[in-house]
């Protein structure tokens, strides 16, 4: 049960990251590929302040806020004037720097040995994880509300206009750089603070947590769910993290040998999904024009179709893997099993 709560808490963290990225990429058009840099910075800063300086959670959190504000501002100042491709490369480089410094600065981060233990803000015995989970729920719900309201506000329209055509926007008297700076820095600080909040969940941090696949998981969730829709990030995180890291890991009976394969299989499928979405449905599952009221019915119909597709997929797989001579003969007149070669066309 404790592990289940841990997974759900982690899902909330990813949800928060995806919402912040939605503001940066979905609304402003800033391709931040350094999500793990901001998140890792916040998480490690929390650990370092607590363990090395022996500060309380609250004091450390305040310090992390100040630090992340400064770093986010610096990164914003460096990358926001660049064209999208350069922004993407620069933010990846930032994340790589964070990951490298965590390994090299042993005096601070303990390097590859790892750093811990990070405390929760307060301990109330066995209920601590649940209380913390409730706090995370409140925070992420708050973030989602903010994004929903942002979409309906004049500011939201301004952000979309900047994403669509920044130069045109400036020619109408909008201070586009300042607006971009404000929302980019805001969202980046949110990512850092989500990192700070993840530190107590993990309790013990090692550099191999700061890997590009974190960034990638957030991106695939956003792009899959619908990068420009207010609820796209949420839908995407439930479909990716919710299915792979919670449903399958909790309920699917996986043998220990297979359990090693699952994370790799997950990233393989994420990559495949991302490619398919970008090529065949660039808006993602929720198109930007889907009204929020219709989202739920879309999800239901989407779930039914994908369930049906998965069922038929399993059937074909069973038919091709263990062809039972008798039944396959019976089926022959009305089913044409798909050839593996068909995929290529």
């Amino acid at each position: 049960m404790a592990y289940f709560i841990f997974s759900l808490s982690l899902l909330l963290i990813y949800l928060g990251l995806a919402l912040a990225l939605h503001v940066q990429f979905g609304m402003l058009g800033v391709a931040n590929f350094g999500v793990v840099g901001f998140w890792g910075l916040g998480m490690y800063a929390m650990a370092v302040f607590q363990v090395q300086l022996d500060l309380s959670f609250v004091d450390a959190f305040v310090l992390v806020t100040v630090l992340s504000l400064a770093i986010s501002w610096l990164i914003g100042w460096l990358v926001l004037r660049l064209d999208p491709q350069a922004t993407l490369c620069a933010t990846i480089a930032f994340a790589a720097i964070v990951a490298l410094l965590i390994v090299t600065e042993k005096w601070m981060t303990m390097g590859v040995v790892g750093i811990g233990t990070i405390r929760y803000p307060l301990r109330i015995g066995d209920g601590t994880e649940y209380l913390y989970f409730a706090v995370l729920v409140a925070l992420v719900v708050g973030l989602q509300m903010l994004v929903l309201r942002l979409h309906k506000s004049p500011t939201g329209r301004l952000l979309q206009a900047i994403r669509d055509n920044e130069e045109l926007c400036a020619s109408l008297g909008k201070d586009t750089i300042r607006v971009k700076m404000f929302w980019f820095v805001g969202a980046s600080v949110a990512m850092c603070l989500l990192g700070a909040l993840s530190a107590p969940l993990n309790q013990f941090l090692t550099p191999n947590m700061i890997v590009p696949s974190v960034t990638f998981a957030v991106w695939i969730a956003l792009v899959l769910g619908g990068k420009e829709h207010a609820l796209g990030a949420t839908v995407g995180v439930f479909v990716t993290f919710g299915v792979f890291d919670i449903l399958i890991e909790t309920y699917a009976p996986v043998s220990p040998e297979l359990a090693v394969v699952v994370p790799n299989l997950k990233l393989f499928l994420y990559g495949l999904l991302l490619m398919a979405v970008l090529v065949y449905r660039p808006t993602g599952f929720l198109a930007p024009t889907t009204p929020p009221e219709e989202v739920w019915s879309r999800i239901k119909s989407g779930a039914i179709t994908s369930f049906a597709a998965a069922q038929s997929g399993v059937k074909t797989l069973q038919a091709t893997v263990n062809p039972k001579p008798k039944s396959s003969q019976d089926d022959k007149p009305d089913t044409t099993p798909s050839e593996p070669g068909d995929d290529k066309t």
């Binding site: 391709a31 993407l88 490369c89 695939i220 490619m275």
Partner: protein, 291 residues
């Protein structure tokens, strides 16, 4: 006087180690640049060509028992073929469907995950060591190097200069440059962009494969080697002025020497941090101009 001598030997060491280390980087950067130059987007999937090159070599070298030197060419060509396949079945359809360059980068990251974790699913994530041929050890101006490193260096520079010559002094190179500079005009004048692209992706892929093979034999082979090298490759290409094979060649050599120099003073990881930071600052200095 002694200080001066020490400084001189430091410089020689840096240049020597830098050039040796840079040889895979030079190949990777040139191939990467070629694709960027022609198709106008940053292809992170290119890094997997490096990984696959090393694994193709290990397949031939370890599984089928060919000598390392025999494995080099077929492994590089196989990687070139893989690169053409990614162009034909991933990037070309995407470009035709109107996917924008900034989204093509994300697509290429997706492809790189598919290739990398697909590979891990098949061969596992353990380090692989190529079966090196017997190695002779040379000293040159007080610095040591192995015969393997020398061969790598010679091969890499042969490849680099041939590529340079092809791009700048042949009809094919003229077509590539024409397509890159003005695709519409080039097509009107009868250049088949599809065929040229296939050749370019093949050459670039082979370069990535070669880079991977040498990176693999210098150190070790693992599924993350391509991803680790691609960031530096992208950096080097952009610093060298993406779109110019000349610039990439030059920048790769300089980056190699610089890395070696910083490494000699501090730890190698700091060298990477310094390069990455320099990269961000250079991008910032360039401002909103295209990469």
């Amino acid at each position: 006087m002694i200080e001066g001598e020490q400084f001189l030997s430091f410089i020689i060491d840096a240049i020597f180690i830098g050039v040796l280390q840079a040889s895979p980087l030079i190949l990777a950067a040139m191939g990467f640049t070629l694709i960027y130059y022609l198709n106008g987007f940053i292809n992170f999937g290119y890094g997997e060509g490096i990984t696959y090159g090393a694994y193709f070599a290990s397949l031939l070298n370890l599984t089928f028992g060919f000598s390392f030197y025999v494995s080099i060419l077929p492994a590089a060509l196989m990687t070139g073929g893989l690169s053409v396949l990614t162009y034909l079945y991933v990037f070309r359809p995407a470009i035709q469907r109107g996917v924008k360059p900034s989204e093509l980068i994300i697509l290429s990251v997706g492809l790189s995950f598919v290739l990398r974790y697909g590979l891990i699913l098949v061969v596992g994530a353990e380090n692989v060591f190529l079966d090196e041929p017997p190695i002779a050890f040379f000293t040159f101006a007080g610095t040591g190097a192995t015969s393997l490193q020398f061969i790598a260096l010679i091969l890499v520079f042969t490849f680099a200069f041939n590529l340079y010559w092809v791009i700048y002094h042949t009809g094919f190179g003229e077509k590539v440059r024409g397509l890159a500079d003005n695709p519409d005009l080039a097509q009107v004048s009868g250049i088949n962009p599809h065929r040229v692209s296939i050749y370019v992706w093949f050459i670039a892929g082979s370069a990535a494969g070669l880079a991977g093979i040498f990176q693999g034999v210098f150190a070790l082979v693992n599924p993350l080697m391509g991803w680790n090298l691609i960031l530096i490759t992208v950096m080097v290409s952009i610093i060298g002025g993406v779109g110019s094979v000349r610039g990439a060649l030059f920048a790769a050599v300089v980056a190699g020497i610089l890395t070696a120099a910083i490494t000699l003073i501090t730890k190698p990881l700091y060298a990477e941090v310094a390069l990455l930071a320099a990269f961000i600052v250079i991008l910032w200095r360039r401002g909103p101009k295209v990469v």
